[in-house]
Structures are given as structure tokens and as C-alpha cells.
Amino acid sequence: MAEPARAKPKPTPETQHFWDGTKAGELRLQRCDACANVYFPPRPFCPSCASRKVSVFKASGKGKLYSYVINHRPAAPGFTPPYAIAIVELDEGPRMMSNIIDCPQTPEALELDMPLEVAFEALDDKITLPLFRPAKG
């Protein structure tokens, strides 16, 4: 029997561009053409001003650690505890949940507001997840 795998996202028509982006090595966000609001998660209208005129753009992939837990139990399928579930505040404004790689999963190593940069991890030939690592330099 195969090892239990981590939960895999299934894109919808409104989110497909995001998952196409991660597969291409890009973190894609949306910006409202009317009010310039940058938002996440994806949807084809601005949640601030309701305009349907919105554009997809490539985000910098840079952000900082806003908050996290280090999960010990129960662990999700596909995860070996302890592992951090992090909230990243992107430089463009929106926040997203992710995991922090290339970093010990400890309170000492995971300092709030530490700079992070996106890294991409392919789950299969369709889905690539946006993860984050401590920013270099």
C-alpha cells in the first residue's frame, strides 16, 4: 500500500491560473484594474470594489513570516511531525498559508517577520505547491 499522500488541491475555473503559475515556477496574484487592490485567493472580481476588470500578474515571491503553529499531533497524511504550518505575508499584501522549507521546524529558527522567498514543489505533473524558505542575503 502506498504511503498516505498530502492533500492535493483540485483547481476550479477561477483558480486554474494560479496552479498553472506554480507549475511554471511563478506565484501569480490578481490586481483590480479599477482600484488597484491586490487580493488572494483567486476570483474573477475584486472583493474590495466588485469590479470584474482584474488582471493576473507575477508576484515577487517575497514575503515575511506572519504567524505559524508547529503541529505535533494529529499529523496530516503525508506529513512527519513536528512541522510548521505558516502564514506568509507577501510583499504585495495578501497572506497565504504554506510550509517553510530549508529551516529547522523550531520556535528558535522560525522568527516572526523573518524574510521568506517562494520555492516550488511538484506533487505530480499537474500540481505544484508554493512553499517558502528563509530568504537568502
Binding site: 504567524s67 496530516a76 497524511p77 502564514i87 520556535p107
Partner: protein, 379 residues
């Protein structure tokens, strides 16, 4: 909504609380409902309005043999029952029904006749949270707390004191699941669940239920129990994704629902004799004290650590022992409401002397929803 037009005239929990392996979830609902009907001196045929969550109103109404003319299936998590009370009060005032039964029950521990929770992989949660290892409330609800602590200068010891103080209340309650005294060291040495929270800062997992019966204040005086009036109400929702809360420094849903209820009640914080703040995890009372306007968030940790909310303190909080020590079947809001009603009737195991106003504040999901009910025993 106008003040004191609707009253709670029946209130009861399931006969047993804790581990109830001999009852399915719908039977726990029925057990609580039958106890509340008896408490109110009514027959099931007197009920013409019905509300419940998780289980559907049609499922429970049929199981109980009720033919309602008003139903509410609002299901926004553990505070659903606060919203039911608010909606029921409005419905009774509007003349849509006369006597409303609200039931909650969960086979949260024994899992008998309870559908497992499932997050669809094409939902927003399934796409943008589940892949990163969230797995049940302990991995999600504490996610904002490190930011809350940093912003407001709250310490681990203060968050441990929440559990310590609530255990003091639980020790006075024969029906509480956990009654043995604990110390800050006990809390900080208990098993790590999801840093920064340890076992004793997480709610219990139990079986049980509760039910309420509401009617007009005019009719309420003819019932056997002392009426408990609805003085003020508030509700709101924010997001089912904890990652997408507007800020982690406070809860928008709390900040909308709480002040709405205070405004409707026409009271100030000094008027509050008794307070319930749904405590699925140890940080929630701090969010609640701040977001409901009792004090700035910065002062909440010290306020609890200094003993202001413990037995004999100036603001008795979570006097049944709370979700941390009394019981928590998954959607605890009903038990907070039951304790507020007991305090207003003057029959709580840890009764606050001469309490006249009780504020009962609930949360649903991971700060996804909120409902606040303010009760009084004086019309």
C-alpha cells in the same frame, strides 16, 4: 431588536455528559430536547419553531415528531446556537412562531451516528489550506496566536493561566469533566499539540448536547422556571479560512457581533455581572475580552493572570469550567448558553451572587463566525 421581548423558558443539557457510547448523535439531540421540554413544562406538540445545526432541521424535527412553522438550519460552527437564539427572538417578535426549540448534540468522542468532517479538494480550503498540513482544529485555531502575542505583548504563562483559572471554576462543578487543580507548570509541561499550545490549552473532546426553549416575554411569566430575557444580540461571519482573516491581532467577527449586542442591550461593560467567552483554545478569552471592548487586548493576559476572572474575581468568566475543563463536544456554544441561563436563574453550581446580566459570546469555525447573546433576569 427590542429588548426583553423574548425569554428562555426551558433549558437543559443531555442527562449525561462526557463519554456516552450508548447513544447516537440524533438521540443525544432528543435526550437534550426532552429534558428541556420537561424543564419548561411543555409537550413536544407545543413546539412550532425549530432550529439546529450540523444535523438538519428536517432530520431532527421528524425524529422528534415536531411540525414546525418556522425553521432555522444556520450552521456556522460552534456559535450556531447563539445565532439561532437571535433568529428565534426575531421570529417570535415577528409572529412567525410562538415557541421555539433549539437543539445541539454531538457524539464528538464516541462518534456514533456522526458524519466525519470532509474538506473537498476543489474548495478554497481544500486548495489553499489542506495541502499545507492543517488537520483538525488544533492545527488551525492556534495559527493566529503567535502574532497576537507579539503584537499585544502576551506571554506563554498568561495563556497557561487561562487553563488554570478555568479549572478552578470546574472544580466547583460536579458535571465538569476535569476537576483536579492544575498549575501553570502543569500546563506548560503538558504534551505539545500545536506550538505554542499544549494539551491543557486545548478543549476537551466529549459527547453531549443541550437544548433551549424560547417564547415571548409576555407568555414567559406563566412557565414554571424563572424567565431569562434576551436583552441584546449580535452576529457576524468573516472567513472559513483562518489564513485569510483580516488581521490576527483581533477577530473581525467578534468585533462586529459583540458591540452590536452591547448596543442593542443598552448596557456598558461595567453592567456585566457574568461572562462566557467560548474557549475552544486558551487564546479565545483574550480575543473576546479585547474585541468585545472590556479592555485593550494588551491588558487581557495580565487581567486573567491577576485573577480577575477566577472565582471571587471582579469579572467571573467561563464559570462552568469552559471548553477546556467542563466539556466540548465539538460545537460548544450551546453549553456556554446553558451556563448563562443557569446563572440568570440563580441555579449554577458556581453561582455568581446576585448576577443580573450575563454576556455569552461564541465563536464558529476558526474565527469564521461569531454570535453574542446578552441575557438578563430583570425585565
Amino acid at each position: 431588536m427590542r429588548r426583553n421581548q423574548v425569554a428562555v423558558v426551558g433549558a437543559a443539557e443531555t442527562t449525561e455528559l462526557g463519554v456516552i457510547p450508548n447513544m447516537s448523535q440524533i438521540q443525544l439531540h432528543a435526550d437534550a430536547a426532552l429534558n428541556a421540554i420537561a424543564d419548561a413544562g411543555l409537550k413536544l406538540s407545543d413546539i412550532d419553531g425549530f432550529a439546529t445545526a450540523v444535523e438538519t432541521p428536517q432530520q431532527m424535527a421528524h425524529y422528534l415528531g415536531i411540525t414546525p412553522t418556522w425553521v432555522d438550519g444556520t450552521s456556522v460552527g460552534g456559535c450556531s446556537f447563539m445565532l439561532h437564539v437571535r433568529h428565534a427572538a426575531a421570529a417570535i417578535e415577528a409572529g412567525l412562531c410562538n415557541t421555539v426549540l433549539i437543539t445541539h448534540a454531538e457524539s464528538g468522542k464516541s462518534m456514533i451516528g456522526k458524519q466525519p468532517r470532509f474538506t473537498a479538494p476543489d474548495s478554497l480550503n481544500g486548495q489553499f489550506e489542506s495541502p499545507f498540513g492543517v488537520y483538525g482544529p488544533p492545527s488551525m485555531f492556534p495559527i493566529p496566536v503567535l502574532r497576537f502575542m507579539k503584537t499585544h505583548g502576551i506571554t506563554h504563562e498568561q495563556l497557561a493561566m487561562v487553563a488554570v483559572v478555568q479549572r478552578e471554576w470546574a472544580a466547583k462543578n460536579p458535571r465538569a469533566t476535569m476537576k483536579d487543580p492544575i498549575t501553570v507548570a502543569d500546563v506548560l509541561n503538558s504534551r505539545m499539540i500545536a506550538y505554542p499550545f499544549r494539551l491543557l490549552q486545548c478543549c476537551l473532546v466529549t459527547d453531549g448536547g443541550g437544548a433551549l426553549i424560547l417564547t415571548s416575554a409576555e407568555r414567559a411569566k406563566d412557565f414554571p422556571q424563572k424567565p431569562v430575557y434576551i436583552l441584546g444580540t449580535g452576529e457576524s461571519v468573516e472567513t472559513p479560512m483562518v489564513s485569510q482573516m483580516k488581521t490576527f491581532d483581533s477577530s473581525r467577527a467578534f468585533k462586529v457581533a459583540g458591540p452590536l449586542a452591547f448596543k442593542e442591550a443598552g448596557i456598558t461593560h461595567k453592567d456585566v455581572d457574568h461572562l462566557m467567552i467560548y474557549d475552544a483554545f486558551a487564546h479565545l478569552p483574550l480575543y473576546g475580552l479585547g474585541d468585545l471592548g472590556f479592555m485593550p487586548h494588551e491588558e487581557t493576559g495580565k487581567f486573567i493572570a491577576d485573577g480577575n476572572t477566577r472565582p471571587g474575581g471582579k469579572l467571573p468568566l467561563n464559570t462552568n469550567g469552559g471548553g477546556l475543563s467542563y466539556m466540548h463536544s465539538g460545537m460548544y456554544g450551546m453549553y456556554a448558553l446553558q451556563e448563562s441561563v443557569r446563572q440568570m436563574r440563580g441555579i449554577a453550581p458556581a453561582q455568581v451572587p446576585n448576577a443580573k446580566i450575563s454576556v455569552c459570546h461564541g465563536v464558529g469555525g476558526m474565527f469564521a463566525a461569531s454570535g453574542t447573546i446578552i441575557f438578563t433576569n430583570e425585565k
